[in-house]
């Protein structure tokens, strides 16, 4: 009986998450309409702009947060995608066993490093370096640029892309490769024309999981990205993200009923929903398109 209860705890946790997020979000949407939250372009939770405004303590248009999150996640995927994929191809197809045995655990270390350390690296090393490099080249790069946070986040998700891709690449059967070699294809032609298409669903799913991880990542952006909600696609500018705003809204003094704190739960609900959809899609892609080899 005890055993059943403990395994039901996982369900209880999910239910708890969904209920608490939904409940607080509904209270938020009583004060601020859903449409303003989802489609509004102005995000100023702290300042009262006009006293007659909805919510009366600021405006809660979350679009700049969504675009900021998307921009930083995109940069991180553009970093981690090629590095992780080519790294996985090299380790699975080209490298000697000794190199593989040394490099693979080293890459796994990247996955085990606490995110606060990446935050330190992004905020104190990478961001100032980019700012100075930008100043040198005459480009204005903000010291809280999306580029710095995105790059370092990309480094963080390299192991997700590389280890999942590595798994699917090595699971492509040898017979496929040998058939290709026997037709005279070079190794790289075999990889790009035979192995990768066969492994594609797994790679797509790895990218989706990496995206989900990037969207939900908190510490790197809290330490390295900005608080100001700018609606821009410029990677050199400072943008803010959903997670940064959740932390910003909930740390420090708080009255629990103000729209300011409740907004954090609405953002959390969006975050939970988006990552859930990405994770489920990732699993679906693998299940649906996986080639069966016997």
């Amino acid at each position: 009986m005890l055993l059943v209860v403990s395994s039901l705890l996982a369900i209880a946790t999910t239910v708890g998450i969904v209920l608490s997020l939904l409940f607080e979000s509904l209270r938020f949407f009583e004060k601020v309409p859903v449409t303003e939250f989802l489609f509004g372009l102005e995000w100023h939770p702290q300042t009262a702009m006009r006293s007659d405004q909805v919510g009366s303590s600021g405006s809660f248009g979350a679009v700049p947060l969504f675009t900021g999150t998307a921009l930083i996640s995109l940069i991180s995927l553009l970093t981690a995608g090629p590095i992780g994929l080519f790294g996985a191809i090299y380790l699975a197809e080209y490298s000697s066993k000794t190199v593989r045995d040394v490099v693979k655990p080293l890459l796994e270390i990247l996955a085990g490093v606490p995110t606060v350390i990446y935050g330190f690296f992004a905020a104190l090393i990478v961001a100032p370096m980019l700012r100075d490099a930008g100043g040198f080249m005459g480009i204005g790069i903000s010291s809280e640029s999306a580029l710095a946070a995105g790059l370092v986040m990309g480094v963080m998700i390299i192991p997700i892309v590389s280890s999942l891709s590595d798994d699917v690449i090595t699971s492509v059967p040898k017979a496929l490769r040998e058939a290709s070699y026997s037709m005279g294809a070079t190794q790289s032609e075999t990889i790009t024309k035979v192995v990768l298409p066969a492994a594609l669903p797994g790679i797509v799913s790895a990218m989706l999981l990496a995206a989900s991880r990037a969207i939900g990542e908190t510490m790197i952006v809290v330490m390295a990205a900005g608080l100001a909600a700018n609606l821009t696609a410029n990677p050199f500018a400072a943008v803010t993200t959903i997670t940064v705003q959740i932390v910003g809204l909930l740390t420090g003094d708080q009255e629990f009923d103000s729209p300011k704190t409740l907004a954090a739960f609405a953002l959390g609900l969006v975050l939970f929903f988006v990552t859930l959809v990405l994770n489920i899609t990732a699993l679906r892609v693998v299940k649906k398109y996986r080639e069966k080899y016997d």
Partner: protein, 434 residues
């Protein structure tokens, strides 16, 4: 009818094929190079990160101390001649430090300049004098050489992080202070010592007296709560799902659920903790208890998945043998399956704990981010944890905190390396092939 046209066309064809082959081989080499480049880039980032942490952080383990002649003036310590504990505790020890500094630089008369002079020594110095006098009241009335902690700015100067080339407005020490500090250094009255305070005290507003011990204890209490909750629950859940559960929609739902829960962003668990444990159940803010519960919920899926894999690895023959000699299914599970799966479960649990130790975001949500100078003494005391402490120092404007932060990261990484090593050793030691 000559074969020269055919031959020449053959030649051009051969040449074209050779060119094509060269191109294909070129593409092959390039492709291979991309792979090497990608792997090297990833390793470069790892190396750059670790090296920058060590380069920045190592200086925080050493701290500048200054030699001062302190006269333990009975007039200042206890004007009425009493030496009971309360008098000694409340005495103004900063006056002793100040008069000693005044003696050292008698030319400094201006009040503003004097205040600058006092800025060279840490506020922690008076605490150190207080401790000495309380431990040995006989010191009162005597005069002795005492090594006292220098301020963070003086410390940066001695370590060479502040130089005269910087414009005066941008550095923490004024020209005057630089002169004095230079004189002190020239007399060998300042030296770098191992910074024991960093490893033994709690947080502080002053960089030179801020320590990591409070955060280490906070992390310890939090992880104890996490461990006590998530380890037994995780193992029981794994045991049920793997050994007893019927194959039906409910168990399938639980499985999908556990896998999804493992991928939920950690900050969402923090929101859950805030809404349910703090606001609904009214548990104390900032306490390791709540932090531990939240982290337990977060690591539970990881532990369940690892424990299930460990149970799955045990061959059915073991169970059948136990059942054949008359053991009940529960006895089989408790007496045979669990002991054999224990090393695998432990490995999973340690890795889950390592992840919980490095987690920051959910703890920010439940108020473990407050400034706490005292070392916590239990799971109900307000506390902070190692990664949150690092984050807090990152937010501080003073430059000396940067080194503290990198040093804090080094401490955190040390714990993580030790935990991972234990997990690897456990796996090596008890790994069985069936």
């Amino acid at each position: 009818m000559t074969d020269s046209p055919a031959g020449s066309s053959l030649d051009t064809k051969a040449a074209a094929y050779a060119a094509l082959l060269r191109k294909r081989y070129g593409a092959e080499t390039r492709f291979r190079l991309y792979g090497i480049l990608a792997t090297a880039t990833a390793l470069f980032f790892l190396g750059a990160m670790l090296i920058s942490i060590i380069v920045i952080g190592h200086s925080a383990f050493r701290q500048t101390f200054m030699k001062l002649d302190i006269f333990f003036d009975p007039q200042v310590i206890s004007a009425n001649g009493k030496t009971d504990l309360n008098t000694l505790r409340t005495a103004d020890y900063s006056a002793l430090v100040k008069s000693s500094l005044r003696e050292l630089f008698p030319a400094v008369k201006d009040r503003r300049e004097q205040r600058q002079l006092f800025g060279l020594i840490s506020r922690g110095a008076e605490d150190s004098l207080r401790e000495q006098v309380m431990a040995n009241p006989g010191l009162i009335g005597s005069k002795s050489e005492v090594w006292l902690m220098a301020s963070d700015d003086m410390d940066l100067f001695i370590k060479g992080d502040i130089t005269r080339d910087m414009p005066e407005a941008e550095r923490q020490l004024s020209n005057l202070q630089m002169d004095w500090a230079g004189q002190i250094a020239a007399r060998d009255d300042a030296e770098l010592r191992f910074n024991t305070a960093f490893l033994t005290t709690g947080d502080s507003r002053e960089p030179e007296t801020a320590g990591i011990w409070g955060a280490v204890t906070g992390s310890f209490y939090t992880l104890v709560v996490t461990m006590v909750l998530s380890f037994p629950i995780g193992i029981m859940a794994a045991l049920y799902l793997q050994e007893f559960a019927p194959k039906n929609t409910i168990t399938e739902l639980i499985e999908v659920n556990i896998n999804n829960l493992a991928a939920v962003p950690s900050i969402v668990f923090g929101l859950l903790g805030l809404a349910v444990f703090l606001n609904f159940l009214q548990m104390p803010r900032s306490a390791p208890l709540v932090g531990g519960i939240v982290l337990a919920l977060m690591t539970l899926p990881t532990i369940i998945i690892a424990a299930r894999a460990a149970i799955l690895a045990i061959p059915p023959s073991i169970r059948e043998a136990a059942l054949a000699v008359g053991a009940s299914p529960m006895q089989t599970a408790l007496h045979h399956v669990i002991p054999l799966a224990a090393p695998g479960m432990m490995t999973g649990a340690i890795l889950g704990m390592a992840r919980a130790l490095g987690e920051t975001a959910p703890l920010l949500m439940i108020g473990m981010v407050a400034f706490i100078a005292d070392v916590p003494e239990g799971i109900f005391d307000p506390a902070t944890v190692l990664p949150v402490q690092i984050y807090l120092w990152a937010d501080s404007p003073e430059r000396a905190f940067v080194a503290k932060m990198a040093a804090g990261i080094m401490v955190l990484l040390t714990f993580l390396i030790v935990m991972n090593l234990i997990a690897v050793l456990l796996r090596r030691r008890f790994e069985q092939k069936w």
